[in-house]
């Protein structure tokens, strides 16, 4: 009978040992070894039964602590430690969505400025219509959020062809051929095509995309469009800095050559009211108008800057985007180039919202990597303190 009791108690002890937290598993082995050393079956059975009680009590206590810790974490979220990866679930790590909001903010600021400056109502209507159209296109391009667009190179080639056609047969003004007529509007093709091409190429820098960039650089040199050639070069330099690659270097070199070429050609276009040089003149209108213009300009680069800081996916695309729109703002500050979104013109609004629509969505990381990491953290939070709690308890 005692031999059977010993056997049963030992088997139960072995089975219960799987319930122990990992840091206490060696204590089961210690108990089992002692049971094995006891010559008398009755004493061994009693010893094993006592050990079984210990193992079960420890296992239950560990689980109770785990549940309590999980509930506490749920009610009072633990802030991320300095070395942990940034949270990827908030809007700050979703550049595509944040970009839409920033675009709407910039257009709103621009409309406020134009109202204060007394711009014709048609200007406000054009910007608002471009915002609505851009928002619809943003929705239509939702599929690009998760993975880099499969036909990015072909799309870039089509955009480069549009730039070349504009250079060869677009509307010309003061020796520059940058526009096409769409109904009552004159659209500046480069303000739409270049930001799109930069984001597409940053997300999928293949040979077809490189050829498209080289063609686009040539088209900008032909038009000529100094500001957008500089924008293209700035975006590609940022891309090479973020993710050095041979093809990207070729693209950056071609765009730099195109930019240098435009620098050699005098830009004789005059400043257009409510479009050019408003970064300087807005404060003459009203202090709040100036603040609105600066806020709108800052909003343009915010999605990429915040996205990078929040650990969003595909950082090279965000770097290229930030460099692109920073360069557009710089061009507006330095010369007679349109002030993006804030100034009148549907081209910049469409170009911005389309380039935003092609940015990575950012939610991929939170769906695939964020949740397991959080579970892992919870595991650490509930598993390790077992021995610490034991250390704090009186003997």
């Amino acid at each position: 009978v005692n031999a059977a009791r010993r056997l049963i108690a030992s088997r139960l002890l072995a089975a219960a040992s799987h319930l122990l937290p990992p840091d206490l598993a060696r204590w089961y082995r210690a108990m089992a070894r002692e049971v094995a050393e006891i010559p008398d079956d009755g004493a061994a059975a009693s010893f094993a039964a006592g050990c079984l009680r210990v193992v079960l009590a420890v296992a239950v206590a560990a689980r109770v602590r785990a549940v309590r810790a999980a509930v506490r974490d749920l009610l009072v979220p633990v802030p991320p430690s300095p070395w942990s990866p940034p949270m990827t679930t908030g809007i700050t790590a979703r550049p595509r969505l944040l970009g839409l909001l920033c675009g709407a903010l910039a257009v709103g600021m621009g409309m406020a400025y134009m109202l204060a400056a007394g711009a014709p109502p048609r200007y406000l209507i054009v910007n608002l219509a471009a915002l609505i159209l851009g928002g619809a296109l943003w929705l239509a391009l939702a599929r690009t959020a998760d993975t880099p667009p499969a036909k990015a190179g072909l799309a870039s080639l089509a955009l480069a062809a549009a730039l070349l056609l504009t250079a060869l047969s677009g509307l010309a003004l003061e020796g520059a051929s940058r526009w096409v007529s769409v109904g009552p509007l004159n659209v500046q093709v480069s303000l739409i095509a270049v930001p799109l091409m930069l984001v597409l190429y940053a997300r999928r820098p293949d040979a077809v995309g490189t050829a498209a960039i080289v063609a686009a650089a040539a088209a900008l040199a032909l038009q000529p469009d100094r500001a957008m050639a500089g924008v293209l070069a700035a975006g590609l330099v940022a891309l090479v800095a973020a993710q050095p690659a041979r093809l990207a270097l070729i693209a950056a070199a071609a765009s730099a050559l195109a930019f240098v070429s435009t620098l050699l050609t005098p830009d004789t276009l005059p400043a257009v009211p409510f479009v050019d040089r408003i970064l300087y003149t807005a404060f003459d209108v009203h202090l709040l108008a100036g603040v609105a213009v600066l806020t709108g300009a800052a909003a343009l680069v915010a999605p990429a800057v915040i996205g990078v800081a929040s650990g969003a996916d595909e950082r090279p695309a965000l770097f290229a985007f930030a460099a692109c729109w920073s360069a557009v703002i710089a061009a507006a500050a330095l010369g007679n180039s349109p002030t993006p979104l804030v100034g009148y013109g549907g081209s910049a609004v469409l170009g911005y919202l389309l380039s935003v629509a092609l940015l990575p969505g950012g939610a991929r990381a939170s769906r695939r990597g964020g949740a397991p990491a959080a579970r892992s953290d919870a595991g650490h939070g509930t598993g390790h303190p077992v021995s610490k709690l034991q250390a704090a308890r009186p003997i």
Partner: protein, 106 residues
Amino acid sequence: MTRKRALSPHARALLAALLGAHGRWSYGYELASLTGIKSGTLYPLLIRLEAQGHLEAEWQQPAASGRPPRHAYRLTAAGERLARGEASLSASDRPAAGWRAGEAAS
């Protein structure tokens, strides 16, 4: 923060047994036999003593060849201080308890 609380009689008995080993390693069943503490009480005490730094534990190869190693225990320096403190407290308590017992008997 750890609360200061009087040790249980079992904890005192275990500390006394370990102190009496004079630095020699002791096994679980041996300690249970020496102190009369059941295994269900002994191991929680050992686990807590080790977690608090009063006890060190290691796997030791038995003298008999072919046997698997056993978990052995001995007091750390801190554990010895605690055990000696408890022993002196018990010694100072003893005359009073004896006096009361004698008084009650007389």
